[in-house]
Amino acid sequence: MRFKYLIAVIIVLFLGISMGYFLSALMSKPSVIKETVVTTVTNTTTIERVETITLPPEVITTTIVQTWPRTVIDALGREIVLNEPPKRVVSTMPSITESMFILGLSDKIVGVDTYSNWPPQILELINQGKIATVGGPWTLDIEKIVSLNPDLVLMCRGVKKHEIDFRSKLEEVGIKTFFLTCHTIKNQYDVYLDIRTLGKVFDVEQKAEVVIEDIQQKIDSVISKLTNLTKKPKVLRLVGPPAWGLISAGGDTFIHWLITTAGGVNIAASYSGWPRLSYEYILSQDPEVIVIGVHEVDPVKIIEELSQTPLINTTAWRNGRVYILTGEADDVVSRPGPRIADALSLLAQIIHPEIFGEIVRSDVIKLSSK
């Protein structure tokens, strides 16, 4: 009896090896590198916006409605009735805070989450006690929020805790919640939707349009320079130091969109979410640009540590195109929000320095500048 099992195991294993051999032999080798592989954009006449071809979602209203009370539909599809523009607002996500500031609504903010750190005025206001902190975006302190007596609490769609736990707790005590797209933002049109919605809620619709126009212009100026691309470099994005896991961004993330729109190819595109990669996979993809985002850590040390890993065998390392994004630079690129144009231009500089010039920022460290 026991030996029957063993025979079965042996058969399975022989199948395994043959499978390994056959598959390796039969499959075309899309990424065996002898020299740099070039993927080209074929035509130069039409402007191909890779993956950004989404029609602007239906705008709720394009005419500026002056009347109060008004009904605004939030990102969860709920109809929220507002009697007047809210005066005391709590923001539970850094991108929401940023949007509020850009729209000039900072005086209405009474509470923000602990991750919100832009613009720098926020930190001052918090220090002065004018704005309270209400916990991290995933660990909101409901009691604290309630104690601030807000008219409205802005939350994010796509964050389960917001949608389910926190919302029900707040509504239980009669506090109004309003959801924006924020976390599920896939492109600039989602950003515009949020800004317009905020415009409606706070009666700053004209300002909203101005802000949107501004962002779109910045984005256009980046994209227009990418029309005659002959080459889209392969980009590896890592979150955190390699020693903590080779965590990259899959094809359904915001940063993937940024990389692609900035004229690059995300080597982790076939994965979803935040996958863990292996060194072998990275080497077989041979990225030409490596972007690593870290916080609270000395980026120079990261580069030193990288020299101990197999990543030194990549084209990116050999050409010195390894970029460590820290602090604000990484925030901008990781947060889908109103600074989307800055994020795009940052990455465009990194991916195409030949078009945009070499990036020079204190919070971006490049390998060859060590």
Binding site: F14, G16, S24, K29, Y281
Partner: protein, 346 residues
């Protein structure tokens, strides 16, 4: 009656051991053949052979071959290590459901890691320190459990309870600390918890092998005290052994093996639980047979699990490198249920 019985057992052990060694070898070849780089396995093996002779083939194949070898060797040695640690734990706690982590080593290793990142983040980005701090954290956890169990009388049950206490306490602490790490560094902390061989490098393996060979040899030398210990503290004394010393010494070996694997590959469950049972099923409880057998079965199981991880990462889009523990859990959980049911039936 007795003599032919003994000879039969010896023969069976040798045949089975050779069989398992061959299986490990075959599966290693399989593991070396598979990987996301989709290289021709023959070329990979050639590159490795050349390396042995001191020549480099050069190019991507060389680097990938080395990576694959490191990964395969890590699977083998860490798998062997976990399996042996599990066997030793099951013996000294006289509990077939024990595994290498019952002394709370994983929780304290994580706590140490998290503390390290919070207090000295620049230091902790280096793999050297990640490995070292995890190891130290694990051994501290073991020491705490040992001290606590001594307070409780030092029996096998006291050890188990002390382990549970330490694991629970530091489990909670580590989660809090890891959350702080996440808000500080913006790296999702779940990844620090999960075990994988995908990030092992050649330097790791060079350190791993001597660290594991020594405890393996030590345990084998202890086979007589361990056999006697199985039947009870009093019985062990009868045969001239000191059960309390056996407990401490063996637990230390097991802890060392577990701490080493936690340091290099993280937490991988079920191997330490399942491999000893399979070994005992084939060769009985005599440790001079079960120790060598368990080692190769552990290596085999881990290799197979890693091959599955690689296969999933290549062929099933979207997931990336699954933690080894997920695959071992899927294989191990049904086995565990079977064990529990079998005991309940008694």
């Amino acid at each position: 009656m007795a003599i032919p019985l003994y000879e039969r057992r010896l023969k069976r052990f040798f045949y089975l051991l050779i069989l398992f060694i061959i299986l490990v070898f075959i599966v290693s070849i399989s593991s070396l053949s598979i990987g996301p780089a989709m290289l021709d396995p023959i070329k990979v093996l050639q590159a490795l052979a050349f390396k042995l002779l001191g020549r480099d083939v050069g190019g991507l194949i060389d680097v990938v071959a080395k990576l694959r070898l490191a990964r395969t060797l890590a699977s083998i040695f860490c798998g062997a290590s976990l399996a042996l640690a599990g066997l030793l734990m099951q013996t000294i706690t006289r509990n077939p459901l024990a595994d290498p982590y019952i002394f709370g080593l994983s929780s304290t290793a994580l706590t140490a890691l998290a503390l390290g990142i919070i207090l000295a983040p620049d230091l902790m980005i280096q793999r050297v320190y990640v490995v070292t701090i995890s190891f130290i954290g694990a051994m501290i956890g073991f020491t705490l459990t040992l001290l606590l169990s001594k307070l409780g009388g030092g029996s096998d049950i006291a050890m188990v309870l002390a382990g549970i206490a330490v694991a629970s306490l530091f489990g909670g602490v580590s989660h809090i600390l890891l959350y702080i790490v996440q808000s500080m560094t913006k790296v999702p902390y779940m990844y620090l918890l999960m075990g994988t061989v995908s990030t092992t490098l050649w330097g790791d393996v060079q350190l791993l092998i001597p660290l594991i060979i020594v405890p393996i040899t030590l345990s084998l030398a202890l086979f007589k005290p361990l056999n006697a210990y199985l039947y009870g503290d009093e019985f062990a004394k009868q045969l001239g052994f000191n059960p309390a010393s056996i407990r401490i010494f063996t637990a230390s070996i097991s802890a060392f093996l577990t701490a080493t694997t936690i340091a290099f590959i993280g937490v991988v469950g079920f191997i330490g639980l399942v491999a000893p049972h399979i070994a005992r099923f084939f060769v009985g409880i005599d440790h001079k047979f079960s120790i060598p057998t368990t080692i190769f079965i552990g290596a085999l199981l881990t290799l197979i699990a890693d091959i599955i991880v690689k296969a999933i990462s290549i062929f099933i889009g979207g997931l990336g490198e699954l933690p080894l523990g997920v695959v071992t859990a899927v294989i191990g959980a049904p086995f565990l249920s079977y064990l529990v049911i079998k005991r309940m039936r008694r």
